[in-house]
Symmetry: C2
Subunit: 205 residues, 2 copies
DNA sequence: GTCTATAAAGTGATAGAC
DNA sequence: GTCTATCACTTTATAGAC
């Protein structure tokens, strides 16, 4: 992308992701962050310009890939006669699951959940710019599969699915991984329950 | 409760609720808070001891009443043969809806959502102490009404209902009140959709 | 119970040497 | 590109007058 050192930049982004997940955007200071990354305090302003710009970059790096994977998965099934509501939910949710296979990706899901909780309009606008077209494409496919639902009714239900999804993927919940279950198996369980639950909520008459 | 001035204390609590909802626990400073309340900076430490204690008091004030109302509503229907899953969900959700009839109550629901997003263990423990017995009583009633579900399966589904509920009640969602719809009518719509959606997600085979 | 004043520490950001 | 040193400011909390 450029000739500057990728190492320092990447280490800052990784440390920021972890600390923002753990302590929030306000709660994590640049000193904690640069100390954890093993870089100089001034490096954040040199590489990103400001703390706010760093926050944006933490989102952009993950969301670009996540949304691309979701749209690829949707493109493979959209419009086909055999496609079910469960398939479309899977196309939306599985890329998020796979992202969180990597520990850093899992932290990012918590950062994303925080972004929802912050009602900051600037951040919401930024997320809408990144997520907006994805949500619209998925909504169109749900509308095709659930023709008995009015537009308003469908929007309500998709909104509630979003809530359940955010809650589950960020590990808000009370349910913790059992000692006998591997991390990956736990995530597969999560996705299975999430898809069944959401499909029932979306499809009921 | 005591001989001290309730006015200053209450004004601090009201201002804290609004600012914590808007800017988060870290984001809202004691200076912003006391300035908004029209009281002296030192008053927070005098009346509550510290900022953390103030946060706890903001929760305690609302949760005591909210949980009491939920348990009263549950007691009226629990164990009766005509009771449905929708009835139990209504008993859980409606008190939260009624709390948010008042503007300050609505703000509190956003504070509560923030508390979920903060993975702070101390705060989670505090909420578990306040919420724990309520969740257990509701879970027992759901188990009675949904005998075909295993214990683990039921816990998963209740967890996902919690996610949808928190999302909807805190106004995270994309869905905004239409200009032709009153605030109260919008809330009634929210609760109707939430109950139907959750009942479908809980009950499916 | 409320005030001013201030302590002690932390914050984001930047100038300037290397 | 990385460093130290520092500015200008904000933070929570408290001591002590009234």
């Amino acid at each position: 992308m450029n000739g500057s050192s990728p190492s320092t930049r990447e280490r800052i982004l990784a440390a920021a992701e972890a600390l923002f997940a753990q302590r929030g955007f306000d709660g994590a200071s640049l000193r904690q962050l640069t100390s954890a990354a093993g870089v100089n305090l001034a490096a954040v302003n040199y590489h990103f310009g400001s703390k706010d710009k760093l926050v944006e970059e933490v989102f952009r790096r993950r969301l670009d890939a996540l949304n691309a994977h979701r749209l690829e998965a949707l493109a493979r099934i959209a419009g086909q006669p055999s496609t079910t509501v469960e398939d479309v939910l899977d196309a939306f949710i599985r890329p998020a699951l796979e992202l969180s296979h990597d520990d850093h990706g899992a932290l990012f899901m918590r950062v994303l959940a925080r972004a929802f909780a912050e009602h900051d309009d600037t951040l919401r606008q930024f997320l809408s710019d990144n997520y907006g077209h994805v949500i619209r494409q998925f909504t169109a496919e749900f509308a095709r599969l659930l023709p008995h639902l009015g537009k308003a009714e469908l929007y309500w239900r998709i909104d509630l699915v979003t809530g359940a999804l955010t809650h589950a993927m960020s590990g808000f919940g009370l349910i913790r991984r059992q000692s006998g279950v591997s991390e990956q198996a736990h995530r597969e369980q999560t996705i299975t329950h999430l898809i069944r639950f959401s499909a029932a909520g979306l499809s009921h008459p």
